[in-house]
């Protein structure tokens, strides 16, 4: 033992040197400003995305969308003649890695940072964006990412907050005179945020939550919870979950013969939900961004043109239909490009312009930012759909 101790000392130096040079090498290529053929300097934009790990189903379409858009923007001459260089970092759905990735991008001189995909990773990046004074546009949903705005001056987000979706559901409940509801949610950050939003929404609305049930993301049977819901006298059930548990719940619901309306959240807005529910999804109502039902959106809708062109571009390039996560990325980059167009290469001015964004039509809705609202989406950004014969049907 003693022997090994003594011998290790001399060479430890060498190993330390190697490791240190590796680290230094990793961040050595900063400050290189490339020029475009047109002679104008390149605008660097960073993105920290959950490409692998738990949230990869969100991150992959986001990355694909950003790559596609960058190509298109540069082919059309960039921003005011400046080509853009997109630097994408994978945070592996890990909060510590998200912080490190943000710092390395800032070191490389990016003008702003897009990301991250999930609420947790976005929350971890906040402090760095705030203290380094760099605009950050998150693609995650939690409202705490941009609230309170007084502590989040540099942070914006493109996904609708849960409250926007809940308000859409509230409209439906009021219209159909349903005053007693049961709320079921998945035991993770997504369900947790849904619960907070619904608690806030039912306050003073005349609607009461008569039963509240939770279940785990990995649960295989929700019959016990649904039996309680059945006994509670609720007139409608609202579920905040994502597949597969959302699909299992829907199957159990059908098996129990419940006939009150079943309302899901936008978390089930992909084909996967319908497939896994094996036919039980028919009749399910949910609020969702317009992308999923783009073909049924009337031509008079201001978003129609943007939706159609995004779907056409994306499906041509990747041979698959885009989903709402890709849409969040589309909006994040659109917002940023719009701000840089007006502000030029100045982080602080870009932030101001992001805050001043008015009437920017994106995939998730029409953005109207303000000093009090760093999301800028209202209820008109989403629609209620019902599933019929395994297809999404826009509700009138």
């Amino acid at each position: 033992m003693k022997k090994v101790q003594r011998k290790s000392k001399g060479s430890v130096w060498i190993v330390l040197m190697i490791v240190l040079s590796l680290i230094l090498g990793g961040c050595g290529n900063k400050g290189t400003s490339a020029s475009s053929p047109s002679g104008k300097e390149t605008y660097k934009i960073g993105a920290v995305i959950d490409i692998s790990g738990n949230s990869s189903s969100l991150g992959v379409p986001e990355r694909d969308t950003l790559l596609m858009m960058t190509e298109k923007i540069n082919a059309n001459g960039g921003i005011n003649g400046h080509p853009i260089e997109l630097m994408i970092m994978d945070n592996k759905s890990d909060e510590t890695e998200a912080v490190l990735a943000t710092k390395t991008l800032i070191e490389k001189g990016v003008l702003a940072i897009l990301g991250a995909s999930a609420s947790g990773t976005s929350m971890a990046m906040l402090k760095t964006a705030q203290s380094e004074k760099i605009p950050m546009v998150s693609m995650a949903a939690a409202s705490s990412i941009v609230e309170p705005v007084s502590e989040r001056q540099w942070v914006f987000k493109t996904a609708q907050s849960d409250i926007v979706m809940i308000n859409k559901i509230m409209e439906y409940l009021k219209k159909n005179n349903l005053t007693k509801i049961a709320f079921m949610y998945m035991n993770n950050a997504y369900g947790d945020n849904g619960k907070k939003a619904i608690t806030a929404a039912v306050k003073d609305s005349g609607i009461s939550v008569v039963d509240e049930e939770k279940f785990d993301a990995a649960d295989k049977d929700m019959t016990p919870q649904l039996t309680k819901v059945k006994a509670s006298g609720a007139q409608a059930v609202i579920v905040w979950a994502i597949p597969p548990s959302a699909s299992i719940l829907t199957k159990n619901y059908k098996d129990l013969g419940l006939s009150i309306p079943l309302i899901h959240s936008h978390g089930v807005g992909n084909q996967n939900f319908i497939d896994l529910a094996q036919g039980a999804a028919d009749g399910v109502i949910l609020p969702i961004g317009k992308l999923t039902v783009a073909a049924q959106v009337p031509d008079t809708d201001p978003q129609k043109k943007v939706l159609d062109s995004y779907i056409a571009d994306y499906s041509k390039k990747y041979n698959t239909q885009p989903n709402s996560f890709g849409g969040y990325a589309y909006d994040a980059l659109s917002l940023l490009v719009n701000a840089i167009e007006k502000a030029g290469a100045d982080r602080s001015k870009i932030r101001d312009e992001l805050e001043k964004t008015k009437g920017l039509t994106g995939i998730s809705g029409v953005f109207n930012m303000s000093a009090q609202d760093h999301n800028g989406l209202k209820e008109d950004s989403s629609v209620l759909v019902q599933i019929k014969d395994g297809k999404w049907q826009l509700m009138k």
Binding site: M1, K9, D90, L126, N193
Partner: protein, 327 residues
Amino acid sequence: MKISKYSGLLIALMLLAVPLAAQSNYLYSILIVIGLYTLLVHGLGILMGYAGQVSFGHAAFFGLGGYTAAILTTKFAWTPLPALLASVLLPGIVAAVIGRQTLKLRELYLALATLGFGILVHIIFNEGGELTGGPSGISGIPHLAIGGFTFNNDRDFYILVWVLLVILMTGIKNLIHSRTGRALCAIRESEYAAENAGIDCALLKLQAFIFSALLAGLAGGLYAFYVTFISPSPFSFHASVQFVLMAVIGGLGTFWGPLLGSMVVVALSEVLREVVPLIIPNAGGEYQIIIYGVILVVLMIYQPGGLSGIKRYFRRNPNNIINSSSE
């Protein structure tokens, strides 16, 4: 011998000085993360490398430290310094309570018990409702402030972490060359023999366990003050495995092992993030993980004693090769 006596201090100074010259927040933050992991892995190293007890639950102590700091400062309006002290002590107390029972278990059974403990604590973080913020975590943790000085930038925090680390490593160096250090080694080699030699194995193992929990708590508390946001995900079972990995890669039962292990694991992941896209454009973390895995497997095949043993390649005397490879 004279030089090597001060080599620890010299290396410490070098490490502290080099990044200051580079003035890079990215470098600072990497070194902060490395420093925090090293604190934790040093505790784990005493437990695993010297006392020979495996723990797959240290992310729980790391998390307990972090959550203690976060909860006390945001929900009970404690000032940061007492909260940091509490975040060191609480994991120690928890370790003392569970340690007496679990440390009676040996080898695989101990590994399973600590694994279970780690998962249990992770569930508590998730289910803690208002107190732990549930899966959404706690945000708005203040910056660490000691006597009017606020550690609100990367450089200051980096200096704080590494000064703490140098103090700690000096202490550990003394510890492992003391009677206690030798007694711990004896437990690792054979508990029965150590018991016969008059060593109170149960007490010593418990002390090592508590010590490692205190250090994990310190690392966790500092992590909370550094990121100023905390959620259950960095404290999952995966993190526990990562810590054991760092300890093993660095070399169990060696003084420099924990530092080398943390450095290599963190640096490798950062370097791969830069290098892999150069080879495979647009490759995400999934490719990095493959390469990462290959490097680790190669390392373990050719250097099973961990990186601290790598010096044998630099020695000329063949006798030493035989000696150290028999380690």
